[in-house]
């Protein structure tokens, strides 16, 4: 019976996609193997008695968190510094990223409407901006910070700009990808009826993509707070620098106080993100 069916419908059991699917899986496994070797991946080492002892002694240091008023004073002022720098850096990054997002994005392309390939000039411009984004985000913050120290001197400006540069590259790319992954039909139909790119974006894309965009932007802000370690390199201060110092000293109590502040800030970021997304509902 089955054979008969097979003969009558030869392509039936030839799922055209499954071979490539299995191949992809195989390639991934094969690629992961050398990674395991290169990183000396031996998880059982973690369970070895000596390392458990060392770790628990180190973590034991974390309690109680440091809470002498002098240190708390430092932590509070560092926290504000960090928030201020992270906010400034992220806002600048956002301002720079948004125009680039519009250029890179293909869903909003008018020249490719109804055609199966894009105009070469559009492709070229898009590729150039894509490379700028790659360049911006693949140069480590550290290098940006060092370069900027020479230009603007030691202080928060260098740190803020380093964050703004790197993060604009990241935001530009992620914004573009979020927009591309969102439901395209609402945007397409507006474009097809003659709306401009921007109009189609605000009326078709944004309602679909807004929650995701908000989540990501606020997440980036939060990364900027954690990333304030970099600020330390240029003498801008902030929580990251405090953390770095306490870490180097293995001052567990101080580290845990700062970690608590980090966890609180992350919680705040989550709540803000939630409030805004609910505001959209």
């Amino acid at each position: 019976m089955q054979n008969n069916q097979l003969k009558r419908h030869p392509p039936l059991f030839n799922d055209p996609a499954w071979r490539s699917r299995v191949m992809t899986g195989l390639v991934f496994t094969i690629l992961l193997w050398p990674a395991l070797v290169l990183t000396e991946f031996k998880p059982w080492l973690l369970l070895d008695a000596q390392s458990i002892y060392a770790t628990s002694r180190f973590l034991g240091n974390f309690f109680p968190p440091a809470h002498d008023p002098e240190f708390l004073d430092v932590v509070i002022s560092s926290t504000w510094q960090t928030i201020a720098m992270a906010t400034t850096g992220s806002v600048l990054a956002m301002l720079a990223a948004i125009p680039m997002t519009f250029i890179v994005n293909e869903q909003l392309s008018i020249s490719s409407l109804g055609r199966h390939q894009t105009h070469w000039l559009a492709r070229l411009i898009r590729q150039i901006v894509r490379w700028i984004l790659v360049l911006l985000r693949s140069v480590p913050e550290l290098v940006w910070a060092l370069l900027l120290v020479r230009i603007v001197g030691l202080g928060p400006t260098a740190g803020v700009l380093a964050i703004a540069l790197t993060y604009s590259g990241m935001l530009g790319k992620v914004y573009a990808e979020i927009i591309e992954a969102s439901e395209p039909r609402a945007t397409k139909i507006l474009l097809e009826n003659g709306c401009s790119r921007m109009q189609a974006f605000f009326y078709g894309t944004l309602p679909n993509a807004a929650p995701e965009l908000i989540s990501y932007t606020i997440y980036r802000w939060e990364c900027a707070i954690r990333g304030s370690v970099v600020m330390g390199f240029v003498g801008a201060g902030g929580l990251g620098q405090r953390m770095d110092e306490s870490m180097k000293m293995l001052a567990g109590g101080e580290v845990s106080t700062i970690l608590i502040v980090f966890v609180l800030l992350v919680g705040v970021a989550d709540i803000i993100s939630y409030l805004f997304r609910r505001g959209l509902e």
């Binding site: 030839n14 055209p16 139909i189 097809e192 009826n193 003659g194 009326y203 309602p207 509902e281």
Partner: protein, 284 residues
């Protein structure tokens, strides 16, 4: 009004990925072995005409409407709109041309969470400056017009409802109300009546036709309701397997029967044993 508004000559249209879907010819029982969704289409449409497109599912009605809206480039052939060839223009000129037409798709793609009023006023976007468009997002600038457009489909009480809270038919009418706010001269409407009850369907079609004749726009409407097509439209185009079967003002019952005949050639009700009775493939 002497020159036709729209003219298609020897148009062949292909979907970008349609080739892959055909199993590279390995499929023996394929209805239509060609990779073209539309074959050799020739059409001339004068401004103000009202045309119904009918044909079986998968015939290419939606593809044809998209092609007419330059939302889909043909593989070969010529399309002329108001004596211009959109695909020979630069993309921004072509985009300007798009303001003169309005395409209402089969299932209106309205972004979830948007309100009806915003969704409908989006029909005015091509006429608006960017600033107005932005302002309208903060507070609707022309709620009255939206309200009037909705009233004509008896949906006025949903003015500020969210589009994802509408019933199927309400959603469809919401998509059509957007059309009333555009100022297009060519209205391309894809199955506007599919989710509507008979009474509402008749009234909706009436509204569309009235709107088209008031602004002297052409109306091209794909339909499955053959009765409506024959009673309300003077010109009917029958499409089947990507080819124009007829394009006529006098459509006979026989022509209709031929158009839809044999849509399920293989379906003899007991040719396939019922799924639950056949031997299961061994693999599970």
């Amino acid at each position: 009004m002497t020159a036709p508004q729209l003219r298609l000559q020897n148009l062949f249209v292909q979907h970008p990925d349609a080739v892959a879907a055909v199993f590279e010819g390995k499929q023996p029982a394929l209805k239509n072995n060609s990779k073209f969704a539309l074959h050799d289409i020739n059409l001339t449409i004068a401004r103000g005409e009202q045309i119904a497109i009918i044909g079986p599912s998968g015939a290419g009605k939606t593809t044809l409407l998209h092609t007419l809206a330059f939302a889909h480039q043909a593989s070969s052939g010529v399309i002329t709109f108001n004596e211009k060839s959109p695909w020979e223009l630069s993309s921004s000129e072509r985009h300007d041309l798009r303001r003169q037409l309005f395409l209402a798709p089969q299932t209106p793609p309205l972004p979830a969470r948007q309100r009806v009023v915003t969704a409908i006023l989006a029909g005015k976007l091509p006429q608006w400056s960017f600033a107005t468009a932005l302002r309208n997002l903060i507070k609707p600038v022309a709620p009255l017009e939206a309200y009037q457009a909705l009233s004509r489909f008896n949906l006025q009480d949903k003015l500020y409802a969210r589009v994802d809270k509408l019933s199927g038919g309400e959603r469809q009418r919401c998509g059509l109300a957007r059309l009333l706010l555009s100022n297009a001269q060519l209205l391309l409407v894809d199955e506007p009546l599919s989710a509507l009850d008979p009474q509402l369907a008749a009234q909706t079609l009436e509204t569309l036709q009235q709107e088209a004749s008031t602004r002297n726009a052409s109306l091209i409407c794909s339909l499955h309701q053959v009765d409506h097509a024959r009673n309300k439209f003077t010109r009917i185009i029958g499409l089947r397997e990507g080819k124009i079967q007829f394009d006529s003002r006098q459509v006979t019952d026989q022509m209709i029967a031929d158009l839809y005949q044999n849509t399920l050639p293989e379906m003899k009700t007991d040719a396939y044993p019922l799924v639950s009775h056949i031997d299961k493939p061994v693999c599970y």
